[in-house]
Amino acid sequence: MSCGFLSFSYLLSAVLLILSIRGLASPETARRGNILGMIGMAIAILVTMYSPMVTEYGWTFLAILTGGIIGTLSAWKVKMTSLPQMVAAFNGLGGLSAVFIAIAEIIAGSQTYLETSLGLLIGAVAFAGSMVAFAKLQGLISAKAIVFPGQQLLNLALAVAVVSVCIVFCLNGSHSLFYILAGLAVLLGLLLVLPIGGADMPVVISILNAYSGWAAVGIGFSLNNTLLIIIGAIVGASGAILSYIMVKAMNRSLTGVMLGGFGVNNSKTRTSGETENKVAKSGSPEDAAFIMENANKVIIVPGYGMAVAQAQHILAEMAKDLHEKFGVDVKYAIHPVAGRMPGHMNVLLAEANVPYEDVFELEDINREFATADVAYVIGANDVTNPLAKTDPSSPIYGMPVLDVEKAKTVFFVKRSLATGYSGVENPLFYADNTIMLYGDAKKVTEQIVAALEKK
């Protein structure tokens, strides 16, 4: 096989893989893009297998088959609410794959020390960090920020140790240093993600996603493989941009998230005198059904609580009843950080058969709350808190929020008046136009649907 054929195939594959991301610009082209991506990947694998670089087929084929079966089965079985865990686990495996390649390269006598150790380092951090993120999302360990005194100092010391061991290894190429480097990087990955709390997970997953890309770049440099470099860079860029979008949507700094402990300092209930004596009005699901069926426009604001209660299907049914029986205009408003990964709410709503034309992003719908009769907030809290606009001393000040208070009536489906993840009290609960619907998101919505269908 000529070198030209290999290069041409890699180029073709790179173009197809880029198109698979490009397709995601709209839901209409996304499926075609995904298929182009599969073709691109298949070309890359087949051509590499066929090239003189690979001379043994039995074991390699068996390995691809094993991974393929495990991957496909888990992708087919996973529940959409557990999507974030699965993406975290996949990120981790990608990182671990890079670690094994790097170690194998060094044992086999590779001289590209710097590139290989970068691949190893980033891969190991991505692997360890993703495992912690997975454990937190899956509920294996507490999702709360785990902090201890001296943590940041320890992380700093570890980072310095990693860099120095890396430099020494590049100078003398001692294999034992390489293994020490791997161990240190795993430890660093664990410690970096432990102090990060549940609602910051969208940022963490995005960062780890970026790492798995950068690790591929490192391996690409060490193996002189342009396709690895190109695709690794694109995945890295994707993760970096998503983290940026998430961090902005929370009005936090990347370092703030990484240092962790958000909500820890504010966890003592902040009862400012103003809200202390106020009473929140509560209503019954039947009241809510009555008000909504007489409305012209209802905007639904789903949050992570909706996903936890698995209320998306009954919610979609409520919207359908309101629209079909009572002619109400129903829309959905999504805050960028609702859910545990970017775009999580959109997928859950799509799963419940909500057409994507009815689902709007924050900046596209925020002005419409003023003309809405009802805002139905289900399982969301911090992303509606008006203090983010008015109280500079609040930890969430400056975060873009949904202007639900501008609707004529606001329904909050919540178990209690407890604060959200940020630990900040939401004054909206006590507003004159707010009615609390206490209870489980799914049960309350079911009761509303029952009331709507009686008529």
């Binding site: 991301i21 893009g33 690979v54 094994f100 194998a104 994707s238 689902v359 992003e361």
Partner: protein
């Protein structure tokens, strides 16, 4: 052997492509974006195949084979879960048809 500067050039240009392509992705599809990028980051399988593709069974080959399995999980799992998600995104008409079917 490709010159390091050629590789760096390719890398830099790829970063720019990634930047513009990713900003073009609609926010509604950010979850599929993550799983597709999961899938394509499985491109490290090429490195794994090259390490695993030697005739002699030794430690590097064994490590390479494990790396192939892990990367393949990423590729197949990533594309499959993206496909599943993308099938769910429907326009109004399609969603109505689907609703009728399930009833």
């Amino acid at each position: 052997m490709t010159d390091i500067w050629t590789l760096l050039t390719i890398f830099t240009l790829a970063c720019f492509i990634g930047y513009y392509v990713v900003w073009g992705v609609t926010p509604a599809l950010h979850s599929p974006l993550m799983s597709v990028s999961n899938a394509i980051s499985g491109i490290v399988i090429l490195g794994a195949l090259i390490t695993a593709g030697t005739d002699v069974m030794n430690l590097p080959k064994a490590l390479g084979l494990v790396a192939v399995v892990l990367a393949a999980i990423n590729i197949f799992g990533g594309f499959a879960v993206s496909h599943r998600m993308l099938l769910m995104f429907k326009k109004k008409k399609q969603a109505e048809n689907k609703n009728r079917e399930t009833k």
